[in-house]
């Protein structure tokens, strides 16, 4: 079954399909993310969250476990590659995963 990461239940493990899929319902949360280039400022100009996700080890094919989520659409706690990550919901919505249910 293919789902956005935010739809996993705490404790479930899945495999990442892509980290750059459009959010399912973009109006629901205002925590949207920037996936292209940032403003005019010199530093941070090429900041790219999609790349950041991959550099943190969230690449396609990676196994990922949702440990818990903070209330009121807060961030998720993930276990990836032996480490513990906090990931904002806006970004988690763009991560498509495959899960066995």
């Amino acid at each position: 079954m293919e789902l956005p990461l935010t739809k996993l239940r705490p404790g479930e493990t899945a495999v990442i399909i892509s980290t750059n899929s459009p959010p399912l319902n973009p109006h629901k949360h205002h925590h949207r993310i920037r996936s292209t280039t940032a403003g005019s400022a010199k530093i941070g100009r090429h900041y790219n969250f999609h790349k950041r996700l991959e550099d943190m080890g969230l690449t396609p094919g990676t196994q990922i476990k949702v440990v818990r989520s903070a209330p009121f659409h807060g961030p998720l706690e993930l276990h990836v590659r032996g480490s513990r990550l906090a990931l904002g919901r806006g970004m988690a919505e763009r991560i498509l995963v495959r899960v066995e249910r």
């Binding site: 892509s18 530093i43 100009r45 550099d55 943190m56 903070a70 032996g82 990550l85």
Partner: protein, 649 residues
């Protein structure tokens, strides 16, 4: 024997222990704590070893050499341009795979490196056993296991480092990617070799396949033709793999890191649930997490207040018993007045009012930082921070702002975009720093009541939230999101904590006390030549008429611009007593208004300087002037409200 000079840089992921090692090596005092992103600027220190003078560079922690955040830029440029003789790659043995991902990139940069396999104790606790000989063989790089806080392995590390520099060991061959990628890297590398490059050609080829903007810009200048070839090769890769070529390269690099990690480590997780994991679950719990956080903060403030209040009284009594003796030594007359009434009063006020609160404050902050709780709070607060256009990580510099706004403003560099840094820095300047806390607890807490001090904090938080929201709404741009590693809880390393606390106190005394002495002397001098009243009168439309404060507070508040606690110390000097409850015309209402204004009214002079550095003078002045006006408005309103409420008739 000739004296030789070498440069060694410390690089690695965030929060792996680079600064602990740096401090041990150089005897310096870089910021240490258990959360990612403390070191934001490179620091430099020196050390003598055998016949070498070694320059050690502490670099910010990063996860990659590609995403182009400030920290990554600093590290990448440093290594590529300054070309240190050696890089010590500090890695966290308990998160091997992620750390090796960065190591592989360093290897690709073709800089000579050795590895400090740090956090060996944490790895062991998590049941991770690493065969460092195998790791060394696999990477072709010397690996030295270390436990930084207790200095285990540090000497070996240094020896190995110097050895490598001395013998000029060849750098290892970089990793090989899958065939489809590897062929294209080689093709591109051959092509770019003909150009004048700042970086190794293979690295440039890889970066071009990853679509690295900075490298593309560089190639634009020195060899445009490479760009079209790179584009063609990227498209080929994309067609084969169905993912962007940058994704494929990153994936493969992680793949290699993962394989190496699996080859060299054996994990037998402990059977019984570990305390730190249970603590983590509890403190990030969706319901329990919040009350626990509130209770922690309250408890800490109450502890600081109780300790401060008690010792402050004790010290004050002690000093008072000296007064007759001191007066008889100084003699009467103008000089005696200047010395006792000025300098001594100022010093006593500094010692009795400031230090008793500052000591427990710094201690608590460092304990909190070293435990690892800050990143949990960031996790819990992510949601709320989005309401002011920031994300959870921004809460960390805000909490550091309670210690000192200056370092907190610098800490805002852990945020990703210019806009977020601007909002965060603005918000941080509104956070009551340790000096402000001294005023709030030492004045309102001690003489009006602890609950009133808490109320002031509450008002301050509401102000931060409201102004933060306004700033967020009025600055165009889209907010980013939280990505943060949460490291394991640790028992705070007491030696580190006390050392850091001691260092901060020492710095404080060094910075503040000369100012206090000079300031008090100047105030007394102004008083002796009868200039005090004209100045105070000049300010009285604001202080007396609008805010209902004694005229003399105007002068105290001006001194507060230098350092915030000076406002209180000078007030004590001006009123002639360290026991401010005895001062005429300065009742509970005035204390509360005074403290509120001091909380909000201006970033102190050092903060203004750092604002200018981070944001430019124009924004620095706008923020400063805005906050002064805002504080005055709030002070007047609070005065009227308190009079209206008629609590202290």
């Amino acid at each position: 024997m000739t004296k030789k000079q070498i440069t060694i840089a410390l690089a690695g992921n965030a929060n792996v222990g680079k600064s602990v090692i740096f401090n041990h090596l150089t005897g310096m005092h870089q910021h240490i704590g258990n959360w990612p992103g403390k070191t934001v600027e490179k620091a430099e220190g020196t050390l003598k070893f055998e016949d070498y003078t070694i320059d050690i560079i502490d670099l910010p922690g990063i996860y990659s050499l590609s995403t182009f955040s400030i920290e990554e830029l600093i590290t990448r440029e440093y290594i590529a341009k300054e070309k240190p003789d050696l890089v010590i790659n500090v890695i966290d043995a308990s998160v091997l795979e992620r750390n090796l991902f960065f190591t592989l990139q360093l290897v690709e940069l073709e800089t000579p490196i050795i590895i400090a396999l740090n956090q060996m104790d944490m790895a062991k606790k998590k049941g991770i056993e690493i065969n460092e000989i195998k790791l060394e063989a696999r990477l072709g790089i010397p690996v030295i296991p270390t436990i930084a806080p207790s200095q285990e392995g540090i000497h070996d590390l240094l020896k190995a480092a110097v050895d490598v520099v001395k013998k000029r060991l060849p750098t290892t061959t970089a990793i090989r990617y899958g065939e489809e990628i590897e062929n294209r890297i080689q093709k591109l590398e051959e092509f770019v070799q003909r150009f004048e490059l700042l970086y190794p050609s293979r690295w440039v080829a890889i970066k071009l396949l990853e679509g690295d903007k900075q490298i593309e810009e560089m190639m634009e200048k020195v060899g445009r033709k490479a760009l079209s070839l790179a584009k063609k090769l990227r498209e080929e890769i994309e067609n084969i793999h169905g993912h962007s070529s940058s994704t494929v390269v990153t994936s493969e690099r992680y793949e290699v890191a993962g394989n190496i990690a699996r080859e060299v480590q054996r994990i037998v997780p402990p059977k019984t649930p570990q305390l730190r994991n249970r603590l983590h679950a509890l403190t990030t719990h969706r319901i329990a997490g919040y009350p626990i956080m509130a209770a922690m903060v309250l408890l800490i403030f109450f502890a600081i207040f109780s300790f401060g209040d008690y010792t402050s009284g004790l010290i004050n009594d002690l000093f008072l018993s000296f007064e007759p003796f001191f007066k008889s030594v100084c003699g009467g007359g103008v000089l005696g007045e200047l010395l006792w009434g000025g300098v001594a009063e100022g010093l006593i006020a500094g010692i009795t009012i400031v230090l008793p609160y500052l000591l427990p404050f710094y201690l608590a902050l460092h304990l909190l930082e070293d435990s690892g709780y800050l990143s949990r709070i960031a996790f819990l607060m992510d949601n709320l921070m989005h309401k002011i256009g920031l994300h959870g990580k921004a809460f960390i510099p805000m909490m550091l702002g309670f210690g000192c706004n200056v370092s907190a403003c610098l800490g805002c560099r852990i945020l990703e975009t210019e806009r977020e840094r601007l909002i965060a820095i603005f918000v941080v300047t509104l956070v009551p720093c340790a000096a402000t806390t001294v005023i709030v607890l030492g004045l309102v807490g001690a003489h009006v009541g602890f609950q009133w001090a808490l109320l002031l904090y509450l008002v301050n938080f509401l102000v931060i939230f409201a102004l933060g929201r306004i700033a967020f709404k009025s600055l165009p741009g889209e907010p980013t999101g939280l990505i943060m590693e949460m490291h394991d809880y640790r028992v705070p390393h007491m030696e580190t904590v006390t050392k850091q606390t001691w260092f901060m106190l020492k710095e404080f005394v060094k910075m503040a006390f000369p100012l206090i002495i000079v300031g008090s002397f100047v105030v007394k001098l102004i008083q002796v030549v009868n200039l005090l009243e004209p100045i105070a009168d000049f300010l009285s439309p604001i202080t007396v008429v609008w805010m209902g404060l004694p005229a003399i507070t105007g002068i105290a508040l001006i001194f507060g611009i230098l350092r915030k606690e000076l406002a209180l110390v000078m007030l004590a000097t001006l009123l002639g007593t360290a026991d401010l409850s005895q001062a005429p015309g300065f009742g509970p209402v005035q204390m509360i208004v005074f403290a509120l204004v001091a909380m909000l009214y201006i970033p102190c002079i050092s903060t203004i300087a750092v604002l200018a550095r981070e944001l430019g003078w124009r924004k620095a002045w706008i923020i400063t002037i805005f906050e002064v006006v805002f504080a005055i408005v709030m002070g007047g309103l609070a005065y009227r409200l308190l009079i209206f409420a008629n609590i202290w008739p």
